[in-house]
Amino acid sequence: MAVRKFAESGADLELVGIQKRFPGFTAIEELNLTIPAGSFFALLGPSGCGKTTTLRLVAGLEEPTNGRILIGGKDVTGTKSHQRPVNTVFQSYALFPHMTIIENVAFGLKRRRIGDAVAKAHEALRLVELDHLAQRKPQQLSGGQQQRVALARAIVNRPALLLLDEPLGALDLKLRRQMQLELKTIQEEVGLTFLHVTHDQEEAMTMADTVAVMNKGAIEQMGAPEVLYELPRTSFVANFLGQSNLFTGRVVDTTSAAITVAAGGQHITVPLSRAQRHQGEITVGVRPEKVTLHVDAPTDTSDRNVLGPGRIIDVSFSGVSTQYIVDIPGAGAVVVFAQNIGSGPVAGVDSEVWLSWAIDHGFGLDDVPSETGRFPADDSTSSIAAQRREDLVSELEEN
């Protein structure tokens, strides 16, 4: 029988050597993960990276091929989903269409024979401000309201662990923001452990204490959102979590504080402490908003990397900022986000510009460039196409 009382507080979740194979493909290679009690943890990754499978494994809706799942130190690998102290907010909400809202919310409480189920369900509905719709059927509610009901239906059970499967995916921007805030507030109020799965990097960064970036069935990097953003370790993370300008070259100079990389005739310096590797062929990068655009050759070059001259090949205005794409001979296209402090773009297409950024803002990646190649920037279809062709050619050569 299921647990008949509420969890006292959130519980640790531990995944040990989890592997999941489906006929024909492997969804998760090997996953080791510990989520401490009371934290808001986000699994971030593109579709097909295995993040939803991970969630389903934790919920007990799939069985791992190998490995163990521990919740609050107890091995639950062999137990069925209805025996786990876990609740899920499904991507599709999955509200029972034949029950009213209040019946939906009270469902879990009644299964666990918790007293005052209906009163507690009303309380949960008040938390999401939908108590006035308690007698309606789910299909009479809007998408945003259904989503809040799904959330109420899960948190009313006070699970040790709450799983969120892209629950905000179907909402419009404004409602999404509101729900993000509400979720965060609820998490702080009730002190549950949240595991949030999403492909939206902004959602993950604003809500979670810890973000793990998943790619191809494995975790690429894990940490606080600021750390992940400031110091990405792989080109995948650098490009999936925000945008990055990446340059690949050989280390030509090493001092006690910094290394210098020669990338296509341009020299780029990165602090030693911010570079993962210090020798040979490495990839270094900088975030577009940290790059400054100069219409004249900059004179003060101390502690700054300077690239140029180059030509602007694209300017797009987006209100708060303007995005410039600058072609630097030898280094390729570099993206620059400039805040619109003055009025409008400072330079047009085809003008000659220089770029600079503080040495402290650069970072060096852990990837071996020859193995991973440059991650195709997703703002340019031609670069993706070129990347695809390169991949195909190299694959053909290997065979």
Binding site: A2, A59, G60, L61, K80, S81, H82, Q83, V86, N87, T88, F90, S92, A94, L95, F96, P97, H98, F107, G108, R111, R112, K137, Q139, Q140, R153, N157
Partner: protein, 303 residues
């Protein structure tokens, strides 16, 4: 129909407000057909049921009257048959449901991953329709007659006594009814279960419901339109069936149902008012039972 059972009032499309003569014109053939072949016989049946024997006439000659005592008379003499009819129909409906639900669940839910198996099994469910059900029922009579391999084997194994029979027993009639109506039960159930969203089942399991509770609280209510449609399609014709219970098929003298006495009264005894009165009683009782059933199961949209 069944598909609309869960639609809310708001979700239903508004009927066009403008009165259209074309619509009436298009309805005309259907209305004429119903008047000619449904309403006329129904009125004729009611009138016949109230006829009285003509005073100096032969057997089988009746004249119009208001002889409502016909109803009392048939209920008095055929009450066992009336009760038996609904008892057998109920038993057959329950057995067909118990047999068809797992079958439909397997085809509609479990076999989703193998569309080929799904189609094959559906064809197998429908396949009996390719042979007349008279022939199939006769075949069962042969297969289960006293001289048949099955029965002689059972007798040899002492599982049946030397003087026991299968054909002619209530069990044989219920067996035949169940067999004949299984496709009518399976197909509506399949159409309801085929659209069952298994994510609801996962959500139920996530909310601490064990597999049995998930089935009881989620699967069954969500397939209710199929259950109601299937049971109606089985119960109504089964209650009026006269083939399975007939002595020429699986029945015997003690298994006669309403259909058989109507047939006997009409064709053998030439007591037309009695046959008509019985028909009307059958119709009325079915209407009341179905009305209550549909009301109770909360699927009024089916009507």
């Amino acid at each position: 129909m069944a598909f609309a059972a869960f639609a809310t009032a708001e979700a239903q499309p508004q009927a066009p407000k403008k009165k259209s003569r074309i619509a009436l014109f298009l309805l005309l053939p259907g209305i004429l057909y119903l008047v000619l072949f449904f309403l006329t016989p129904l009125i004729s049946l009611v009138l016949t049921s109230l006829q009285a024997p003509s005073e100096f006439g032969d057997i089988g000659v009746y004249e119009y009257a208001f002889n409502w005592q016909n109803y009392v008379a048939v209920v008095e003499s055929y009450l066992p048959h009336i009760l038996r009819s609904f008892g057998y129909a109920l038993a057959a409906t329950v057995f067909a449901l118990l047999f068809s639900y797992p079958l439909a669940y397997f085809i509609g839910v479990k076999a989703r991953r193998w569309p080929l198996l799904q189609s094959l099994m559906l064809v197998l469910v429908i396949a009996p329709f390719f042979i007349s059900f008279l022939l199939r029922t006769l075949a069962w009579k042969q297969l289960l007659s006293d001289e048949s391999f099955v029965i002689t084997s059972l007798k040899a194994l002492s599982l049946m006594g030397p003087d026991d029979h299968f054909t002619g027993t209530p069990f044989a009639v219920i067996f035949g009814l169940t067999y004949n109506f299984i496709p009518f039960m399976t197909l509506p159930l399949y159409s309801a279960l085929e659209r069952l969203d298994t994510r609801y089942l996962e959500a139920g399991s996530d909310l601490y419901a064990n597999p049995f509770t998930v089935f009881r609280k989620i699967t069954v209510p969500l397939s209710m339109p199929g259950i109601v449609a299937g049971t109606l399609l089985t119960f109504i014709p089964a209650a009026g069936d006269y083939i399975n219970a007939s002595r020429d098929f699986l029945g015997g003298p003690d298994t006669q149902m309403m259909g058989n006495v109507i047939e006997a009264n009409f064709l053998v005894l030439q007591n037309y008012p009695a046959a008509a009165a019985l028909s009307i009683i059958l119709m009325a009782v079915i209407l009341v039972i179905v009305g209550i059933y549909v009301k109770r199961s909360g699927t009024e949209d089916l009507l």
